[in-house]
């Protein structure tokens, strides 16, 4: 399972009197990699994912005075991650909507990338609507419960369940017809 995403108790030893620098350092070592991977599943590329996760850690550093606890800091990080990924995706959608499309002869990185085994699934996940994708990634990759995913997404657990069901249905249809 994904290390660092569900291990809320792993940081239970973080004392409340730690300062923000030390808390960020500890949580960075524990969670940075898994957060970057999760954000990469959400936003689609590693560089943006790293920027998103670093923004989240900066926000956590600023908010550490209010958090003071790893039990609050980890959901806070998750929430920042989801919000910032959402903003990055929206921003990219706006930019991509107004950018002229490359001609048919222009090679793109997408076309040149070798076909990976998981690519079909990942592409199908990337084609999902934003909330469905978030619910799917948080639940299936992050291993969060529906309540934790709901907390990170800022919606109710029932809505998370609905998004998950719709996402699974869409993926079944897409992946079933691709072959």
């Amino acid at each position: 399972m994904t290390d660092g995403l569900t291990a809320d108790a792993a940081l239970g030893s973080v004392p409340a009197q730690w300062d923000a620098d030390r808390a960020v350092t500890v949580m960075f070592g524990e969670h940075y990699r898994s957060f970057v991977r999760m954000a990469a599943l959400l936003v689609g590329d590693v560089a943006t994912a790293e920027a998103v996760v670093q923004d989240s850690f900066v926000a956590m550093h600023v908010a550490w005075r209010r958090l003071r606890d790893s039990e609050k800091a980890l959901p806070y990080l998750r929430q920042c991650l989801v919000n910032r990924s959402r903003s990055a995706l929206r921003h990219r959608i706006v930019i991509g909507r107004n950018t002229p499309k490359p001609g048919p002869g222009v090679p793109s990185a997408e076309r040149e990338a070798p076909p990976l085994p998981e690519r079909a699934v990942v592409e199908a996940v990337r084609a999902l609507p934003l909330r469905q994708r978030e619910a799917l990634v948080l639940t299936y990759y992050g291993g969060l419960t529906e309540a934790q995913a709901a907390s990170a997404m800022g919606i109710s657990p029932g809505r998370v369940k609905n998004h998950l069901a719709e996402a699974i249905e869409t993926l079944r249809a897409v992946l079933g017809t691709e072959t």
Binding site: A20, V58, V62, A109, E110, V122, G176
Partner: protein
Amino acid sequence: MNTASEDRDWPGTAPRVPGEGDFEEVLRRALHSAANDLEPTGDGLTQIFRRVAAPWLVRQVWLLATDCVDLLRLITIWLQPMVAWAVAVLAAVGGSVHEALRQLTSQAPAAAPIPAGQHRRGQARAAVFWGRSPALKARARARAAVAWLRPAVPVAVAAAVVMTGTVALSQTGARIGLSGDRGAGASALAGRAPATGDHRQSPQSDRTGPSLAQIPPAWPGTTPASGRGATHQHSCAATRCPPGPAGAPPSGPATTPSAQPTTSPSPSPAPSPSPSPAPTPTPTRSHHHPHQPHPHPSHPPHPPHPGPAETPGH
């Protein structure tokens, strides 16, 4: 229900058993195997602390500048088709007018003979007018090439004005907050710098910067290091550097509530011996419901958008 997708052989998956959980397991494994190939670069912590150490104002100005650049780029992109259309329309209109004027001028010399000197000047003017001169042609071409810059220049000026105004306002606000904190609870803060700018933590500022869209999608196998400079130039607007996070001693939870200054003097009506006239009955309607801000006390007023900065934990 066994769908066609369940009959696929996903790499790395166990032999499947028909059922609902099988597809979910396949999905889970595919996500994990796709994401586990991604490796972040090693300087993430350095980047984080560099951003944390940057002054708040610098970060805000930089964020504003990147936003303005992004906006300018969008406006330029939006204006390109309009400019192209306008150039085409002008070329068409200019061509028809050119033909009409040429016909007119071809008939005009026959009607009235022109003296020699005026004729030469008239030819020069006509050459200038029709753009027969190569220098004029080049100049007109250059004008047409930079014609799209004309709307961009006022936009840039407006963006600069907005940026300057925002910076000035933020400085003024910071000063006001600083003086207010000093005046209110300097002894309670006990030498700690006042936390100005907390009110600026809005969830709408979850922007991640304009350079995100420039990064091509990179899935397993691509290196994430490219374009990091542009990607990390922006910073989260919702973040604010605390005055002294590294060196500040950790303050206990018990000190936090006491740091709230109570500077609101209660306006107690003292009996004054001033020879004031008799109180006139003023018609006030506030006695009906003087303090009912919320009709439903069980539902406190929600902030516009409770982002992570407002509701960190659950």
